[in-house]
Symmetry: C2
Subunit: 218 residues, 2 copies
DNA sequence: AATAACTTGCACAGCGCTGTGCAAGTTATT
DNA sequence: AATAACTTGCACAGCGCTGTGCAAGTTATT
């Protein structure tokens, strides 16, 4: 019964899915630069009317949440394999992977900065945050990362420092390579390495040298 | 002619000035935790009606600007004497002074995070920012502060890192002394010192040991 | 070619906010 | 005690936004 089931519905149109994605893309960009961006603005950026948004998302919050969630999934995917014996390397790598996904993740940064206003963001970022905390804890235990700051605090400070680099990078127009190195440097510095040690570590670790090639979206 | 000048007006009432100050205080606190706080909320916190606000400030923006400006003046005053031969010490001291004025300055932090949305903040912070940039530049020249990151970028990153400490401190409920040390540590780390070097520097420099006593307001 | 799926445009209600006018009240100053 | 200074409370206009209904259009699927 391919075409005549009880209450059968024709398959959704292909362009609907495309429009949904366009809305998420537009929301990611728009909310990234202004967390209060209006639906009008987002819809326009997606090439749709405001009214059409409601064909895909019941409320504005739902669209925002979907955008955040997609970003978080991408970030989680990009950082899933970051486990290294040396906590410093793991940390640098985590930063680098963050950098590699900035464009797709900027919503997170911009909304994360807002603080506790949006619970969705917290939930969405949870896996990455716990990975960071694990790295910091392990590093402190093995002596490769500072232990003069409580691990929980330190990992939040590193997170904020990394976000600051993303912002700085987009405002100062850094190249892909510059940003890639900078985010690692700042993460390592916050973690207690000297500038010299951070640079040496990066230079001595080939896998830290180049950004991931931009690849297929999730 | 003490009482009968042409068009003479009675002196403003003492409580009017008090109410104005109460509004600024309330705005500083309210905007610090939510940059979009309503006039209703601010007025209530100041023990006044929303309508009364307009007796002191023509628009909401004017109130916000006044609050920001007062915070900036206090911060500038608190950091006016920060000039030291050792750029590292100067940097740590700048962070410490920031910490000493957090309560009065939280508006700045919360609005500064918002980015370019509010030009007032940028102008208000200008003097402190240029002092920070000067310190970073001098330190890089003399070799006490890292020079692998462009001074302009580095000083912005240090600023953001310091703000992150303020936020972290209020959320984790640090003591005055803990926050005092933490903001210095993070500033120095971002500037390129190792955790060990940062701690040693602080320990070896008496003037960095204790927060300023809380003193008279501006 | 028929039809369901999707979009558009308009109109409208509603929300939460800012800013204003005004009359009636309260409080500090003289 | 008189009076100017200030506050309150209410009512109202207006703004920019979200969310909804509906009729008319367009576009992909069958």
């Amino acid at each position: 019964m391919t075409s005549a089931a009880v209450g059968a519905r024709r398959a959704p149109r292909r362009d609907a899915e495309e429009n949904r994605t366009a809305l998420l893309d537009a929301a990611t960009i728009a909310l990234g630069s202004d967390p209060d961006a209006s639906l009008e603005a987002i819809a326009a950026a997606a090439g749709l009317s405001r009214r059409a948004v409601y064909g895909h998302f019941a409320t504005r919050d739902e669209l925002v949440a979907a955008s955040v969630e997609r970003g978080a999934l991408r970030l989680a995917a990009a950082t899933a394999d970051v486990e290294r014996d040396d906590a410093r390397v793991a940390l640098a790598l985590l930063g680098a992977r963050l950098w590699d996904t900035v464009e797709q993740v900027r919503v997170l940064a911009s909304l994360a900065v807002r603080g506790p206003s949006l619970a969705v963001v917290g939930e969405a970022l949870a896996p990455v945050r716990s990975r960071l905390l694990a790295i910091v804890t392990a590093g402190a235990a093995s002596g490769t990362i500072r232990d003069d700051i409580q691990a929980a605090s330190l990992s939040r400070l590193i997170e904020q420092a990394a976000i600051a680099v993303l912002v700085e990078a987009t405002e100062s127009g850094f190249s892909r390579d510059d940003g890639h190195r900078l985010v690692m440097l700042i993460a390592l510095s916050t973690a207690g390495l000297s500038a010299h040690e951070a640079n040496e570590l990066i230079d001595a670790t080939p896998e830290l040298h180049h950004p991931l090639p931009e690849d297929a979206a999730l």
